[in-house]
Amino acid sequence: MKAAPVTNDIILRTGASIMVPLILLWGLYVLVHGALGPGGGFQAGVILAAGFILYTAAFGLRETKKILTMEQVMVIASTGLFIYAGVGVLAIAFGGRFLEYGVIPLGHSPAEASKYGIEIVEVGIGLTVMAIMISIFYDIVLKEKVE
C-alpha cells in the first residue's frame, strides 16, 4: 500500500502548472486545425496525453485520478471509436456507403458535409488516442497498488 512518490520540486510544480493548460490548449488547436494545416487526431491525442502525463509527473497520480479516473479514461477511449464508427453508420442511414460523408445533410454541399465529417472523425480519433495513451501511462506507472 505504498503511494507513488510525489515530488516536491517547486520548479517542476510551478512549470507544470503554467505549461499544462498551454499544452492542453495547443492539443485542442492541433485537433481542430487538422483540416487546414499540419495536425489531426493522432497528433492532437498524443499532445493532450502529454499534458496529463506532465501533470502526473508534477502532482502525483492521486491528483490526476481526481480529474480523470481509470473508468473515465476507458469510457473516453470507447467514445472516440464510437464517434468514428457512428459517423460511418450515419452515412449508411442517409443512404450512402460506409464513411461516405457527402450524403450527411450538413452544410450546403457534399464537399462541405465531408469537411464536417472529417472534423468529427478527427475528434473521435483524438479522444481515443489521448485516452489510450493515458491508460497505458497509468498502467506502466502503477508498479504497486496506489491508495
Binding site: 465531408s114 469537411k115 502503477l142
Partner: protein, 91 residues
C-alpha cells in the same frame, strides 16, 4: 565459418540492393509511377471532393477513412491489451 557465410550473404544482398538503386526514379520526380496513379486525382480533386485544404487530412480521413478506422481500432486494442496484461488494481 558460419560467421563468414553471414557476412558474405549480407554483402551480397547489399550489392544487389545497390545495383537496383540507379533504376529508382528520382526523389519527387513527377513522372515516377508512384506519382502518376492516384496522386493527380488527390491534388486536383481533394479540395472539391472533401472540402478541406489539407490534402493529407483528406486522404487520411476521407479517401482512406476505412483504413484510419482500422488504425484507431488497433490503438484501442493495444491499449486494452496493455490493460489486461499489466494493470494493477486501484484501491
Amino acid at each position: 565459418m558460419r560467421r563468414y557465410l553471414a557476412i558474405l550473404s549480407c554483402v551480397l544482398f547489399w550489392a544487389i540492393l545497390i545495383y537496383g538503386v540507379p533504376d529508382l526514379p528520382d526523389l519527387g520526380d513527377p513522372d515516377a509511377p508512384a506519382n502518376k496513379h492516384v496522386v493527380p486525382r488527390y491534388i486536383e480533386g481533394s479540395y472539391k471532393e472533401s472540402g478541406v485544404p489539407n490534402i493529407v487530412t483528406a486522404i487520411l480521413a476521407n479517401y482512406r477513412g476505412y483504413d484510419t478506422l482500422g488504425e484507431t481500432t488497433v490503438i484501442f486494442t493495444a491499449g486494452i491489451t496493455v490493460m489486461l496484461l499489466i494493470r494493477r488494481k486501484w484501491k
